[in-house]
């Protein structure tokens, strides 16, 4: 009886963790693979793999780190494979679901412009650069980024630095364009 209630509590804890981390994980994966349907699948697989080993890992403590490592790897692997696919894959672009309820039109336009600027700026980065910069902005250390990208902390630092440089340059160009 006690075992059952403990496992129910643990399942609830896992559900809360999944719900809390899911939107950001999806956003992160979508930004790396540029396709929300593919991102959905990759994130789904990563969560399933992690949750199936929930007895081995302390997910509420280390889960986020492991999750981003898994998603980064899955996205990079997907991008590598996609190079060998036909050009039809490019036509798979699908828009994200946006709830515009209760937002005023000006705000929508400003947000859309910001999103478009950022998307075009992020596309200038390689996938490892994009992953490194996004992980850094989410508060991961260089050591953690290096582990996720299977590289050294020095190289992770270089990736972050170059990504910031490119992003700053592209966003600056946009500012000049609209000045």
């Amino acid at each position: 009886m006690a075992d059952e209630s403990a496992s129910a509590a643990s399942a609830k804890e896992m559900d809360a963790w999944v719900l809390a981390t899911l939107p950001r994980a999806l956003a992160f994966a979508t930004s790396l693979v540029d396709n929300s349907a593919v991102a959905d699948d990759l994130v789904h697989d990563c969560y399933c793999r992690l949750l199936s080993k929930s007895e081995v890992y302390d997910l509420p403590r280390d889960g986020t780190k492991l999750l981003y490592r898994a998603i980064t790897n899955a996205c990079i692997n997907y991008a590598r494979k996609r190079r060998f696919l036909s050009l039809d894959a490019l036509a798979e672009q699908s828009g994200t679901l946006v709830d515009r309820k209760a937002e005023d039109p000006c705000q929508i336009v400003i947000q859309r412009e910001f999103t478009q600027d950022m998307e075009s700026a992020m596309r200038q980065l390689t996938i490892p650069q994009r992953a490194a910069l996004e992980l850094k902005s989410l508060g991961h250390s260089l050591q953690e980024i290096a582990e996720a990208l299977e590289t050294t902390p020095t190289n992770a630092g270089v990736l972050v630095h170059r990504a910031r440089q490119t992003l700053a340059r592209v966003l600056q160009l946009d500012e000049e364009k609209f000045a």
């Binding site: 719900l19 939107p23 979508t30 209760a102 000006c106 999103t115």
Partner: protein
């Protein structure tokens, strides 16, 4: 990376990711994961759902019989719809706002410690706030263009453009203010509304709103509305504000006054007397920074870095 520092770039990327995250509905994927892991059965056998179906039919029958036996009364949804219509009228209402901190996350989310009590004037979705602290008299608001302003007395003020307003400041505005029309609309769409018995000596209806699904990025968990039984105006409102899936503050709004104010009270200029000076990003930004530091503390320079123009 001249004018764009590493910190501000990281903040921009984080902000962008947050916005992307907000646009994702996690429910379908969450359910898919649950199904894959076998926690949510794909389809259950007839034997398993037969009894719940019988029970549900019995409940529905009982409900229909009860409905016929009691006099018809306005549903919670109808009450909120009527309140929404009333709050669309161009009348100005002043609410006393009391904020109770429920978690340290409130301060993490916003570096500004909100005063415990303020006066909030609303008309539709426009608002301005009069701080009640006599040591530091100020009035501030967010206009219909999304610009945040603050008047420091009748002759000096600052204005922050929408693209400069940090995410936490928008969240802070949302936490403190209620924007009745938008709020009631949100309650009608995303919340389960139930009527609760009102105290015998009060002429009001009480409606409780509970979020139908716990979205981790939702800003509001529940609300209790006290509506005037005659006018359907919100007399008292208690909101449970959330951040990262946790309760951060309970905010109570009590109707203090109803009046017709000049429209310009919802604009910064309505609180100033000539001669006055408004410090903006383009007009004397260094002076604006001084006032921003008075409002937000020394870290203001991080959120509003001086612009370096080519």
């Amino acid at each position: 990376m001249n004018s764009l520092s590493a910190d501000s770039l990281d903040a921009t990327v984080r902000d962008w990711l947050d916005r992307q995250a907000e646009s994702h509905d996690p429910r379908p994927l969450f359910e898919r994961i649950q199904r894959t892991l076998g926690r949510l059965p794909r389809s259950q056998s007839r034997r398993h759902w037969a009894w719940p179906m019988v029970a549900a039919a019995a409940v529905i029958a009982t409900f229909l019989l009860w409905q016929e036996s009691v006099p018809a009364r306005t549903s919670a949804k109808q009450l909120v719809q009527e309140a929404r219509k009333v709050h669309l009228l161009p009348l100005d209402r002043c609410y006393l706002v009391e904020l109770r901190k429920e978690s340290e996350l409130l301060e993490e989310a916003s570096p500004v410690v909100p005063p415990r009590v303020t006066h909030l004037w609303t008309r539709g979705d426009r608002f301005f706030v009069e701080a009640t602290d006599p040591q530091f008299r100020r009035t501030w608001g967010r206009d219909d263009q999304g610009r945040v302003w603050m008047a420091f007395g009748p002759h000096r003020a600052i204005r922050i453009e929408p693209d400069e307003v940090p995410r936490w400041l928008n969240l802070y505005c949302d936490t403190l203010t209620m924007q009745p029309e938008a709020l009631l609309g949100e309650l009608l769409t995303h919340f389960e509304l139930t009527r609760e018995p009102s105290p015998t000596d009060s002429a009001c209806h009480i409606v409780r709103a509970r979020r139908t699904f716990d979205h981790p990025l939702a800003a509001l968990r529940s609300a209790v509305l006290e509506l005037d039984s005659e006018t359907k105006v919100l007399r008292r409102l208690t909101l449970e504000r959330m951040r990262q899936g946790r309760l951060v503050a309970t905010v109570t709004y009590t109707l203090a006054e109803t009046r017709l104010l000049d429209s310009d009270k919802y604009e910064l200029e309505g609180h100033l007397q000539t001669p006055y000076e408004i410090y903006t990003r383009d007009h004397r930004p260094e002076r604006r920074l001084v006032y921003l530091k008075r409002w937000f503390g020394p870290h203001a320079v991080l959120w509003f870095p001086p612009q370096t123009r080519p």
